[in-house]
């Protein structure tokens, strides 16, 4: 294949050419140009330029459709389903149902008490109060039952993810070979948009709760596995040696030293797993998860912003509470236990459990199990009238600045359309060349090969055009994100006050599930590609700002001091010292920005973003799994390509060595 040879040939020749050409960048570009000059005429002569040649595509729709049909036909009869997937499916249904029934039996009072007491045990009084308020708000918005559904699904999915992640992490943490095999897989899985996970599970399990739970587990287990492995491998060598010197057995070394030493990472893994699980549990409403996510999904489908917000706010509250509580548990580990605390250890947990049961029983005896209808407030209608007012007054025709819909329209006409048309107009081989050049300049020849292969795979799958459409949205969103993110990040790095102001905002934004971002942009910009891009920008901004600020702040103080001592102005300090030294952080910000933007642009298919995201949604909605699966595969390839193109890590590692 053309792509492969473009990338492998330079690899072999690098030393020779490197010796000839002092300038590495120029050398690489020149080499690529030479290879292109040889290959392009051949390729051009054989296949037409322009879009990906039809001769080079493989139509997977047929076989995939057959597979899907076969699975549907045999789901109830084939032994593989009867004795394996069937049991998994049943186990999931039974456990989710069981947890849900327990939550209902506890009643709203019991659940609220339990949430408050758990938060109190883990994170202290302040968070306990917030947890109680958050849970009560969920009920107050009339979302008690969906909240409990989401919670039940979450509890089962998180438990399964943690167990699976811990097992994988243990294996990778204790065996070098497993670690080497598992690490690239886990790293890559973190790059894929959540959507990519939906279709394969639907293919096997059909739409419903089992599929939703399993997709969530597959999505949420990798961080747990990764951090467990990292924690176990990062155990202080001195401590481990000391433990061995006292004659501990392998089991004792693991249980009394290695695992406890990794507690911080384990809790961080738990925190990430919970957040990922919530994010996915909401998205999985597309494949039948039910609960809060489903309410948002349904509301968005009918552009009912008020109803979407009524379900979206509980999601955000859940996210914030879960995040803060688990994060606080991690921080508490480092701090000393205050001496002489009375409610210490198991005793405190016992008190919490007893109190919960008492509250639940009291509520049951008082006949107040279900959330009282009179205690709800309907926010959908006022929100909707506000949105209507906005539609009337802010959408367009505002003097001088224009309306939000005008902006969206202009953005689509002047930025997105030219970008998409430009990309689609480019000859397919030139897209591959650009990808190769970028990936090779930023990363290594290995990342370039992966990126080019991923891009070529998109062409082979026959979704070249929609993929470039998605790509154009991603590029536009990334450009906006980086400009705004770097500007704000630099400003925050230079002004302590701005950083203090931003921090809580960023904290909340970073914990919100991707899905929720669609609600406000639909309210502001309606549906279409521009809102999808806007949601992606808002979602990716916090991470970019945070990484930029941190990178600039962590620049070696001695270097800054010496620059100051030579009389550099603050602009000179920034340009000549801070930015060059923070280069790795800035590149990481770009990489993160791209990955996060892609995730939301794909989800944007739900609000008229079209392109690949829409193919997946369409496939799910129409039961046309083949189309959806091809779209999902293209998303995976696109994610892989974008990550590899912006991945500078390997070269940095080489430089350090």
């Amino acid at each position: 294949m053309a792509a492969a040879s473009t990338a492998t040939a330079p690899a072999a020749d690098t030393p020779r050419f490197g010796a000839l050409l002092r300038n590495r960048v120029l050398g690489k570009l020149l080499l690529l140009a030479v290879v292109a000059a040889v290959l392009v005429p051949i390729v051009n002569a054989r296949w037409a330029s322009g879009s990906w040649p039809h001769a080079l595509t493989v139509d997977l729709t047929g076989p995939l459709g057959k597979t899907s049909d076969w699975i549907i036909d045999n789901r109830d009869s084939h032994p593989l389903f009867l004795y394996f997937f069937g049991h998994i499916s049943n186990a999931v249904v039974v456990s989710v149902r069981g947890v849900y029934l327990v939550l209902l039996a506890a009643g709203w009072a019991g659940v609220t008490a339990a949430a408050g007491l758990i938060a109190w045990r883990v994170a202290g009084l302040k968070l306990a109060a917030s947890a109680v308020v958050a849970i009560l708000v969920c009920g107050w918005f009339g979302m008690w039952v969906p909240t409990m559904q989401t919670l039940a699904l979450m509890i089962v999915a998180v438990l399964a993810s943690v167990v699976l992640g811990m097992l994988l992490g243990l294996a990778a943490g204790l065996s070098d070979r497993t670690y080497r095999a598992l690490r690239p897989v886990l790293d890559t899985m973190q790059v894929f948009p959540a959507y990519a996970y939906l279709l394969p599970v639907v293919l096997v399990f059909g739409i419903g709760v089992p599929a939703a739970v399993l997709a969530t587990v597959v999505y949420a287990a990798p961080p747990m596995a990764r951090l467990t492995a990292l924690g176990l491998r990062g155990a202080d060598g001195g401590v481990m040696e000391a433990v061995a010197s006292l004659g501990a057995t392998a089991r004792q070394r693991l249980l009394t030293a290695r695992l406890p030493l990794a507690r911080k990472q384990l809790l961080l893994g738990l925190n990430q797993t919970i957040m990922m699980a919530l994010s996915m549990a909401v998205i999985a409403s597309v494949i039948g998860a039910g609960g809060l996510g489903d309410r948002v999904y349904q509301a968005l489908a009918s552009v009912d912003v008020g109803a979407a917000l009524a379900a979206g706010i509980p999601i955000v509250l859940l996210a914030v509470i879960l995040d803060r509580t688990t994060a606080a548990a991690g921080e508490r580990l480092g701090a000393a236990e205050p001496d002489g605390r009375r409610l210490h250890g198991p005793y405190g947990w016992g008190v919490a459990a007893v109190l919960t049961v008492v509250v639940a029983l009291v509520a049951r005896l008082a006949g107040r199990i279900d959330w009282p209808d009179t205690w709800t407030v309907n926010i959908a209608d006022p929100v909707n009238s506000a949105v209507d007012w906005m539609t009337d007054h802010l959408y367009s025709g505002v003097p001088y600045i224009g309306g939000t819909a005008d902006w969206a329209g202009h953005f689509t006409t002047w930025v997105l359309d030219p970008l998409r048309d430009g990309l689609q107009w480019l000859p397919w081989w030139s897209v591959l060349l650009i990808v190769a050049a970028l990936a090779w300049l930023i990363g290594t020849w290995r990342t370039a090969v992966t990126a080019v292969l991923a891009m070529a795979a998109i062409g082979v799958l026959g979704v070249w055009k929609p993929s470039l459409d998605t790509l154009s949205q991603v590029l536009a969103a990334v450009a906006v994100t980086l400009v705004v993110g770097f500007a704000v990040g630099i400003a925050a790095a230079r002004s302590g006050r701005l950083e203090r102001l931003l921090r809580p905002v960023l904290d909340v934004f970073q914990t919100m599930p991707q899905f929720v971002y669609l609600i406000p942009v639909v309210a502001l910009f309606g549906v279409g590609r521009a809102p999808a891009v806007a949601a992606a920008v808002v979602y990716a901004l916090p991470a970019v700002i945070r990484i930029t600020t941190q990178g600039l702040r962590e620049v070696d103080g001695a270097a800054m001091e010496s620059a100051r001592s030579m009389g550099a102005t603050s602009g000179q300090q920034l340009r000549q010292v801070q930015l060059p030294l923070a280069r790795p952080a800035l590149l990481l910000a770009v990489n993160q920005g791209v990955v996060l933007v892609l995730a939301v642009v794909i989800i944007g298919g739900l609000v008229g973003g079209g392109a690949l995201g829409y193919e997946v949604v369409f496939g799910l909605a129409q039961g046309d799994l083949a189309t959806g699966l091809v779209g999902g595969a293209a998303i995976v390839c696109l994610g892989l390509m974008l990550d590899r193109v912006t991945q500078p890590t390997e070269r940095r590692a080489k430089k350090g060595a």
């Binding site: 202080d236 001195g238 401590v239 040696e241 000391a242 433990v243 061995a244 010197s245 006292l246 004659g247 501990a248 057995t249 004792q252 009394t256 030293a257 406890p260 030493l261 507690r263 580990l333 000393a336 001496d339």
Partner: protein
């Protein structure tokens, strides 16, 4: 130096017993196909840089042999990279040696199976580490009790024992703290207590005080000296600090590039360095605080035997200087009422200036024979090997254990100890 005197007595009566650790021709080579290096005479003779170029291997410990006697403080000293830390880890096979033999109380360590090795680590040899190696999530008390816990000792019993040891190392009142809340010195006391709690036969110290401030280091050294005086436990102590080695060690093995270049008492190392490397190493040592009057004395004249202050043969030269300066007379070295010899101004100055050469050694070899003729043999031309074979007490401790002590043999054979006075001055 008071330990030195008490310890010397213990060493003398322990000499009859078997050594605690006996190490023979031990090799530890890191790198690909490390096994071939020790067996291959040609490779074994290469220098570190040549070996690495030829094979890609690094020999951390090369052909090392020594005995650790019961009740002594055996110090292994060397600069970083000399292989001393690797050596001490080989003793309990925290690092698996490449070849050679190690035995503890006559039992082959390298032949032990996992269970036996665990028993060795649990009950017979406990180690104290440079960076403490404490478990950050446990209290001080639980850290100290950890060794007992993994032995399966019950909770109440191990806590009682741990509390006892915590008090012994001076950490009373801090039992419920976490290691992170303690200073470096306190953390190392916890490390020491953890090793002591299992009541091991031997304590192994791997540069335990290197990470501490100088003042705290001194405190901790005194703590070790005190513990040793009280319990008489055998200790193997690794350090890169010469003054620490001289303060604590009954015998010192000086390592360079994986080999022991000299093994002997502090006095021997300082008084008769085996080669230029050792001499360079000990150049700035205040000799009067290490050398004993036994080495500095000369036979007494008839009239000197009856007067002047008396001093024990193990006393340091600096003590003798003080006595001489006070009285103005030469000091008599008295052992059980017998006058072994005297030290006068000239002798003492010779020690301080480092111009005494091996005179002391030549003389001390004949000391027990009360040898008047030793003085006649002349200070410059002492026959080193003859003196080594004849000696039983001080200088004998270096080569007395026979062929096992490679470094000391080399030292005894080499003419190096006979330092021409002119060389030192120039």
């Amino acid at each position: 130096m008071s330990t030195n005197t008490t310890a010397n007595a213990e060493v003398t009566d322990a000499q009859a017993g078997s050594p605690v650790f006996s190490v023979n021709n031990l090799w530890k080579v890191f790198g690909p196909k490390a096994d071939r290096v020790p067996g291959d005479a040609e490779l074994a003779a290469l220098s570190a840089a040549e070996l690495r170029a030829r094979t890609g291997c690094t020999a951390a410990v090369r052909d090392v042999s020594f005995d650790v006697r019961r009740g002594e403080v055996f110090v292994v000293m060397g600069l970083s990279g000399s292989g001393k830390s690797t050596l001490v880890r080989c003793l309990t096979r925290l690092i698996e040696p490449t070849s050679g033999g190690i035995s503890i109380d006559g039992e082959d360590v390298l032949g032990m199976d996992k269970g036996r090795l665990r028993e060795l680590r649990r009950h017979r040899a406990a180690m104290v580490f440079q960076h403490f190696g404490l478990l950050p999530h446990r209290t001080v008390l639980d850290n100290v009790a950890y060794g007992l816990e993994i032995q399966g000792v019950g909770r109440a019993e191990r806590r009682a024992k741990a509390a006892e040891v915590v008090a012994k190392v001076g950490l009373d009142g801090l039992e419920q703290r976490r290691p992170g809340q303690l200073s470096g010195g306190q953390q190392q006391r916890v490390g020491l207590a953890r090793a002591l709690a299992v009541d091991p036969e031997v304590l192994l110290f791997d540069e335990p005080f290197s990470a501490l401030d100088p003042l705290i280091r001194r405190d901790m050294q005194e703590e070790v000296i005190r513990l040793h005086r009280e319990e008489g436990r055998t200790m193997v102590f690794i350090t890169h600090d010469l003054s620490e080695a001289l303060r604590l060690g009954d015998r010192i093995a000086l390592m360079r590039d994986g080999r022991i270049v000299q093994l002997g008492t502090p006095e021997e190392i300082v008084g008769s360095p085996a080669d230029g490397y050792v001499r360079e190493f000990v150049r700035d040592v205040p000799r009067e605080q290490v050398m004993t009057v036994r080495r500095a004395m000369r036979p007494a004249d008839a009239d000197e035997e009856g007067r002047g202050p008396a001093i024990a043969p193990g006393a340091t030269v600096s003590e003798a200087i003080e006595a001489v300066a006070r009285t103005g007379f030469a000091v008599r070295v008295m052992d059980e009422g017998r006058c072994l010899g005297v030290v006068d101004h000239a002798r003492l100055l010779g020690v301080v200036a480092g111009t005494d050469g091996s005179a002391g050694e030549g003389f001390s070899g004949e000391a027990d024979v009360a040898g008047a003729d030793a003085s006649g043999s002349g200070s410059d031309s002492a026959d080193a090997s003859a003196s080594a074979s004849a000696s039983v007490s001080v200088s004998g401790s270096g080569s007395g254990s026979g062929s096992a002590v490679a470094g000391a043999d080399a030292g005894a054979d080499a003419p190096a100890p006979v330092t021409p006075p002119g060389e030192e001055v120039a």
